[in-house]
């Protein structure tokens, strides 16, 4: 197992070297920077730390984010540094957390709320879709709710029921919300920084499967990545594979293995799910003429459907095969004995890509 994991890591890092760095250079000159080797979850904590040091309005609130530093340590060290007025353990009440955050934002604060797991965001769904998302349009652009709601999402960690949710589509369907998810430590810091500074409400999905999967050099100072741009993680000519968050790594693994079979995949890490980076999606697809989407969420009415629908809308004449949706099944995530059979992984990704290529 560990040698496989090592392979995964090498592959991903190799792929990363080629492409992420391109991306990084555009935005950020590494040479003059102090860099740390961080995991994704450390990069989240680092982004919070860096931003909170620079902007007093920023506060973190949620369940167990204080002394405990969050159940995943994503708010580690913040409590000691910034104290219990800016790093606040709230009562156990998600609607309260998000409702409070909206009010805090209105008062001039910049709240970053943590929902302990995506499966527990539903009590706050009303505050998000009826208010956070609408405040700007309701007030005719005169007011807004600049808040970030962070939550770990996704499966693969042998967690109990409700701890593996991946329902990004719920938020993508609601106008007025932005939805982003990083797949690398570097992106985690850059995207979270941008999310905090963004004037609109941002749902920040953290792929907990890869919270600690690998380390990457992350600048110690602050930097932003755009909230609406995809990253091409691997260039290829035969097929465009769209994915995000925790599915990026298995997709890259599959891509390398498919390369050995002679199938050259372009892997697009969307990063932003709302607004969708439509131009990048369409450009990539027009280049390859074939496509697949990989996500953990149930297939039906997932974000994969939107991507397929958009492509056939904008690039039908380029389309040589059905866009494959390699996704969670239309069932709930099983308990962990069957988890491996539910989640897409390199095996299913390869199979789906072959189907598209051989069509």
């Amino acid at each position: 197992m560990s040698s496989y994991a090592d392979t995964v890591r090498e592959n991903v890092e190799a792929a990363g070297d080629e492409t992420v760095s391109v991306n990084q250079q555009e935005l950020h000159d590494h040479s003059a920077e102090t860099l740390s080797e961080l995991t994704l979850v450390e990069a989240v904590a680092d982004a919070l730390y860096t931003e909170m040091s620079q902007d007093e309005r920023i506060m973190v609130l949620g369940e167990d984010v204080g002394r405990n530093g969050g159940v995943f340590r994503a708010t580690d060290a913040l409590y000691d540094e910034f104290g219990d007025h800016r790093v606040v353990d709230t009562p156990l009440a998600e609607a309260g957390i998000v409702g409070a955050s909206i009010g805090l934002a209105l008062s001039g604060m910049r709240p970053v709320a943590e929902i302990q797991f995506m499966g527990f965001v539903y009590p706050a769904f009303d505050q998000l879709v009826s208010h956070a998302s609408r405040l700007r349009s309701r007030t005719h652009g005169q007011s807004n709710a600049p808040l970030v709601v962070r939550m770990p999402y996704g499966g693969g960690i042998r967690a109990p029921e409700h701890h593996s949710e991946s329902k990004e589509a719920f938020f993508v369907h609601e106008p007025g919300l932005k939805v982003v998810t990083p797949s690398t430590p570097y992106d985690a810091k850059g995207l979270l920084t941008a999310a905090i500074r963004d004037p609109d409400p941002v749902i920040f999905l953290e792929p907990k499967l890869i919270y600690r999967a690998f380390r990457e050099e992350v600048p110690e100072s602050s930097y932003e990545l755009p909230l609406d741009e995809a990253a091409i993680r691997r260039e290829g000519t035969d097929i465009s594979v769209f994915t995000w968050g925790s599915m990026t790594r298995p997709t890259l693994v599959a891509a390398e293995e498919l390369a050995e079979e002679g199938i050259d995949c372009e892997v697009v890490d969307l990063r932003s799910l709302s607004p969708l980076p439509i131009d990048t999606i369409v450009d990539s697809f027009e280049k390859t003429g074939r496509g697949a989407v990989v996500h953990e969420a149930p297939k039906t009415a997932g974000v994969g459907a939107e991507i397929a629908a958009t492509i056939q809308e904008e690039a039908l004449l380029y389309q040589e095969a059905p866009i494959q949706r390699i996704a969670g099944y239309d069932a709930h995530m099983p308990l962990h004995a069957l988890e491996d059979f539910y989640l897409p992984q390199a095996l299913r990704i390869k199979e789906g890509v072959r189907d598209a290529v051989e069509f």
Partner: protein
Amino acid sequence: MNAHSSVYEQDSNDRLQILDPDGNVRPDAEVPDLSEAELLAMYEALVLARRFDRRAISLQRQGRLATYAPMTGQEGSQVATSYALDEQDWLFPTYRDHAAKHVHGMSLTSLLAPLRGYREGYAIPDGVNVMPEYIPIATQIPQAMGMAWGFKLQGQQDRAVLCHFGDGATSEGDFHEGLNFAGVFDVPAVFVCNNNQWAISTPVERQTQSETLAQKADAYGIESVRVDGLDPLAVYQATRGAVRKAKDPGPGEGRPTLIESLQYRFGAHTTSDDPTVYRPDDAAEYYRERDPVDRLRGYLTNEGILTDERQATIEKRVDDRIQTAVEEAESLEADPDDIFEHVYDELPRRLEDQREELRELREKYGDSAFSEVLE
């Protein structure tokens, strides 16, 4: 007659009252420290509210306004709570709190605009600290709490937040979560429960088995007060006290307060509602005898502050202002581009495409082509 209203009918001592039904000061009651001018202004706001209500209902019947939630009988409490605020305080209203919004700075035109279908009325003009009306019940409560908390965190000691909601709202989870946070974070907020005894067709005794709504505050370790919501002076006093305490609590005092303002919904829930279907109007007579407008008028007349002449001036002025607002609201025009403009700070590509699509369709077919009957 339900449990609450029968308690209420005893004019009992379980709530703060200053004026008796005729506007006489009750024995032992102390009139709040308001100047004649202030009292008259408050009274004028009451008259305005009452006449605005009547006008809005009539405009709705003529098809000139959409569904409207009347406030007759409740405007005394609304006006008094807003009078108790300082200018820098914030107000979170519901769909029924027209008078509260107006007294705290919202123009009458803004009140009417959403009823004509324009979001412009929900904009928050600079310097006016009034949120748009909240329609999903109780959702404003955690938000008002959050704003109050934010002011406290930012050291803005002179700011409080006042949040309105109905008796029905106390059943929602958001009420519970908001008030519980308020207690834990000791925020400068005043929660005003406008217990008009009905949530559409549901009487308050079917809403909860709790004897009073005020006592729900104990569950959050916060203080509460019950007040006669048809007595504007009592409501003013209770609210003013709560606002002061929010900003500058005494030793051992908490900042937040829950005020249960006991009222009665004189009319229909909204202009789409027909209360005769579900409530016998036994109680109406009783409450009409305690009408908040008449009651303050009685007091001011007794005190010699209000004369017939002044009354006439007030009515005239108020009607003129309403008339102007109606005209302004009726001359508003909507720009279909607005659908897209304020979804995000910047227009994403897809919304831009959609705006373009709509523009092209309008160009091609004209705006009137869009007013087909859908059904």
